[in-house]
Symmetry: D2
Subunit: 382 residues, 4 copies
Amino acid sequence: MNAVNDTPSPVRLKAVAAPGQPEPSPELETLYRGFERELLVPLWTEIGDLMPMHPTSRASPHIWRWKNLVALAEQAGRIVPVGRGGERRAIALANPSLGGKPYATPTLWAAIQYLMPGENAPEHRHTQHAFRFVVEGEGVWTVVNGDPVRMSRGDFLPQSAWNWHSHHNAASAPMAWIDGLDIPFSYYTESQFFEFGREGSGASDRSTPQHSRSERLWGYPGLRPVSQLDAQSATPLLAYRWVDTDRALREQLALEAEGHAVTLSPGHAAVRFTNPTTGGDVLPTIRAEMHRIRRGAGSRARREVGSSVYQVFDGVGTVTVGERTWAVGRGDMFVVPSWTPFTAAADAGGTDLDLFRFSDSPIFEALHAHRVLVEEAPGGTT
Amino acid sequence: MNAVNDTPSPVRLKAVAAPGQPEPSPELETLYRGFERELLVPLWTEIGDLMPMHPTSRASPHIWRWKNLVALAEQAGRIVPVGRGGERRAIALANPSLGGKPYATPTLWAAIQYLMPGENAPEHRHTQHAFRFVVEGEGVWTVVNGDPVRMSRGDFLPQSAWNWHSHHNAASAPMAWIDGLDIPFSYYTESQFFEFGREGSGASDRSTPQHSRSERLWGYPGLRPVSQLDAQSATPLLAYRWVDTDRALREQLALEAEGHAVTLSPGHAAVRFTNPTTGGDVLPTIRAEMHRIRRGAGSRARREVGSSVYQVFDGVGTVTVGERTWAVGRGDMFVVPSWTPFTAAADAGGTDLDLFRFSDSPIFEALHAHRVLVEEAPGGTT
Amino acid sequence: MNAVNDTPSPVRLKAVAAPGQPEPSPELETLYRGFERELLVPLWTEIGDLMPMHPTSRASPHIWRWKNLVALAEQAGRIVPVGRGGERRAIALANPSLGGKPYATPTLWAAIQYLMPGENAPEHRHTQHAFRFVVEGEGVWTVVNGDPVRMSRGDFLPQSAWNWHSHHNAASAPMAWIDGLDIPFSYYTESQFFEFGREGSGASDRSTPQHSRSERLWGYPGLRPVSQLDAQSATPLLAYRWVDTDRALREQLALEAEGHAVTLSPGHAAVRFTNPTTGGDVLPTIRAEMHRIRRGAGSRARREVGSSVYQVFDGVGTVTVGERTWAVGRGDMFVVPSWTPFTAAADAGGTDLDLFRFSDSPIFEALHAHRVLVEEAPGGTT
Amino acid sequence: MNAVNDTPSPVRLKAVAAPGQPEPSPELETLYRGFERELLVPLWTEIGDLMPMHPTSRASPHIWRWKNLVALAEQAGRIVPVGRGGERRAIALANPSLGGKPYATPTLWAAIQYLMPGENAPEHRHTQHAFRFVVEGEGVWTVVNGDPVRMSRGDFLPQSAWNWHSHHNAASAPMAWIDGLDIPFSYYTESQFFEFGREGSGASDRSTPQHSRSERLWGYPGLRPVSQLDAQSATPLLAYRWVDTDRALREQLALEAEGHAVTLSPGHAAVRFTNPTTGGDVLPTIRAEMHRIRRGAGSRARREVGSSVYQVFDGVGTVTVGERTWAVGRGDMFVVPSWTPFTAAADAGGTDLDLFRFSDSPIFEALHAHRVLVEEAPGGTT
């Protein structure tokens, strides 16, 4: 009667002699066959994996070198066209422990995107939240609901759910940047919608203004247009410019030097990109921050529920993720899996180390499942 | 230098001639080998799967018959002991399309739990949210932070994160009930913590009071103890009794008959179990409701982001989940995958059809990703 | 040019020789005349009164004896009709220090209302929030948006802004109860709207159901109708019945006796009437609570920003408000001005002392201006 | 027994023959004497005043001319010292209908403050929320919790509850500015606390930095220091600079000219000063905004629950408040009482008209009592 039961059951159970497990016996085998037939799995064989003492990520710490990413993106630029169907020339980080899937972490997508001069990535919209971050280069405008937004080095450009968007390269050189999205989370939770843009829509606007309309409306500290008072679950500000981010980090370190406790730990400044209509995270599922570690200083070791992806924006230093340690430089990208200890230190002989970070933390905060553990002693290199 | 690259890459890419895909060529093959080597995956080969027009669930509609569940639980009761390590005699529904994993849906765990007379399931705590629901029987007390809570037919018993709990059967007959948890979601998002209970702790309380302390403190409509004003992300009320649930549903149908618009659609009453300190869902990740469909009536077809598990509490009727239709009766459990249309109808010749439902909807509401589509025309059987 | 300046200025300033004040001189007199002419007042003459070290209320502690209130209400019942224009036979407490205004405290209105058999108080609605509390008697139904709500001893009946309402006495005896409203606050802040009811509207419903529709929909612990999920700034539950309130208080004292810390202090139980859709106060501007002090016990001394009105529901005891102490019994009403210390004690030889309280605390909590100071040592009489 | 009753009652009641009033009679007189003796006031004699159909303010529309304010402040500067006790050389607007009290409106305080070169207004703190706004001049620093904040033309400087603050004039010329506070509201609701500063505290910091520490930490669009994530009920940003405000208004009008709907009505731009940690009002009880009306344009007529105070920052125009109309220019201050229609228009031959506005609107929004009525047709002068 239950058609599925005619097909082989995907459930496979094996009685084993082990602590906490029932003694293997013919009766147990019979029971397990019954479970398989009825599509059932007991807790007692799974609990160790499913309910561990603390998160033990399936993802691995891993690093992708910027020069390799750019080289392959350039290669793709020559032979892979951009257009409707493929939609974007975006190449995603595939965590080595996640089965070859384009997932940097179980929840986060991170990709390098690449546009040749004159190219246009066609308009579409989707419920996945996205952002762009520019580690180098310029010349591309992303057009969001008809508002062209310039993309330049150091800029953070959020792109929240269900906004129409396209990108076009108005320069004479190719441009690469990174995209971050919650694609794996949306895929896993089966909550995603997508629509192709209409031809001839606002996406065909190829103008290249210095400042987007969103910046002209929203880009002032603490000022809100009185015509825009509706609640907004994601930021209406489409560009967070490097000039501001850099100044904010510089001032934090200067204030620290003047004796004020405004850094996360000595020599470790950080700003979070926020939604000016709430003061909370810039996107409902994605946190984005820029960290600056003063040359010779280091961050405190930190464990956190949820995963992060980092890109080195500038400087040279050393990062440690769980049992992996890497020397890093501009553009390098690495992942910090859930509850894996992380520290970063800036070389004493170099410049400050600037790290762009994004994570899935807002998910856990919204669900009251967030936990952070920060070690007291800082891990500086001096 | 990058040790992982010495092992075979999990990434496997294949150039195919298809709309939206780059033309197969030796250069493309070279590019794809480079992607594999560097652990990269392009968007253009994955977008159709990862970013569909609307959610298309990996889970299947499926039904588990109560008589089969109980028979196997009884069999397990005879040969599988309950104790530290295995922790619980709980047997989980494994959706036929989810690879044999104990997942009713991608995010939800649903199991039948079974305790023999005199047995005690040992104390532990975990960050996964849980509840128990009793479709028949009585005699077990669940002890939450030292507060023994009676479990009887029709009762809904939430068990939020990080509370110590154990269960003991004080009756002379075995008892079965169902457990619902967010185990798959916690596992996927890697956010779970677990601790074994201490021996000799409050869990050893084997008393069997008619009313838990939580009910004596919180079990009154709209009354809050002034000593308990702290914010609580999950309900402090540990038992929602059938007498109340039944009366609330009966009154909705009576009010409807008197001409008041208080049902979801004609003949379809429903109550949601809520956290009295917020009015919101009883648990941060799990919604729980009881629905009553008047005999001869039917619900409107509904699609919703996220998945649900139902158990028939009473009555007989017909449910349709996507392309599957089943006649259902007491205790039968079935799943409604994300964005799959669902309707239920009560047999005209029977009694009202009572359906207990739980879902992952609070996750999507918290993240502003919820969508519901309800058809105008009701699908009654009369 | 400024017409007002032709009329005598209401500003009157006097130069006085005092610490913190400028030296009296002809120049100062000239300045003060200029201030008066231009409608200006300096801070330095007013600061002591306007900006005290802590709140020093203009209101006085005062008590109104129930037997006197009832006697005058009966007298009014004989000679003052109830109808359109006067609207209600309500007689308000006028704090002796508030200039003869019908203000129990600067923000709160408290009145005895009285209806003769067969009388009907006509339908209207207003933005002032209101409630009724019944210290004795029965027989009146308050009709809220067409929903008749029975009023009986011990019941608390909230009536939030802008709901149509009328009252009718269906019994053969007169009935008195108390009304609480935020009339003075609304008057002061100039935020009030009012409308007369339409003739022949739902207000003409003279039915006398045991349970209101609101109770049938909302009167269950933790259960919310799925058809009623909209946000509600005030409670949709129109009656909080004594049977529940009494049981909740009794159980708190019983739990205390069993060793659980659920009372405010030994022998002092309390419940707050809350909005089941938020867990917060029942009305946006009015907090309502019932307190029970075990015979022989007393409350801790408490100071709080904002004012309260109490009515003794049952028992005999002693209350101290600032420098006033009164022996109190059923029905007596008294006020506790802002930041005035308050203690209550139940006579050792009597029954428990039940005190109904309402206050303006939600205003201060909403504006982040709330402060409470509770003394450690309880003030029991034993 | 009730001591108060020995003193003359403040209650005075008079029986009058009027609609809605009981017929005068000896019995009624007896009843009223009883009410007076027992400190009671019936609703029926008061309802028309207390519960009007809509707010009818006790305050009057009124204007204070800047040149008169400055002249009197200068005069005070010569003869009234600034120091402990008087605390501030602040001269408050006294609404002509509010009995000579220093209340611009029933809830708001507005004053001109004046400091001579070298003077220091001593440190104190209070729970009243405050701000400063500078219509002209410079040279004063306000020191907030030890952080000196420069005050210059066009700057808005919030000063939320319970922060230590002082002001010192570091220039060689006197300086005037305006203060706004919720003193009347705090006084009325009896919720205020005050403390004198300690000698030798941070208030003695007479440094004159160009940028306060608060600006260096918080003064960036959408960037939040990761070290400052605690919830904040009022803004941590202590200066909103004119350069930003002016640019935001200019861009709104430019965007309008480009065809985008970002103004309140044609030619009417406005920004609200907000708390960057919430996106909400800058202070819990005070809203502050800057409006710009393009020359020749006018605002729509608007009625709103609650009161506002305006100061003309620049330009010339005409404002209408209820039945009063005034030609206005720089520095002029006027009040808009609750629910009184307001329009403003900029002279066609002049420059744009910039209006600084503050109001008590957050009180009503927090309490769900806010109402606004905006007329459709704009009231331009062209």
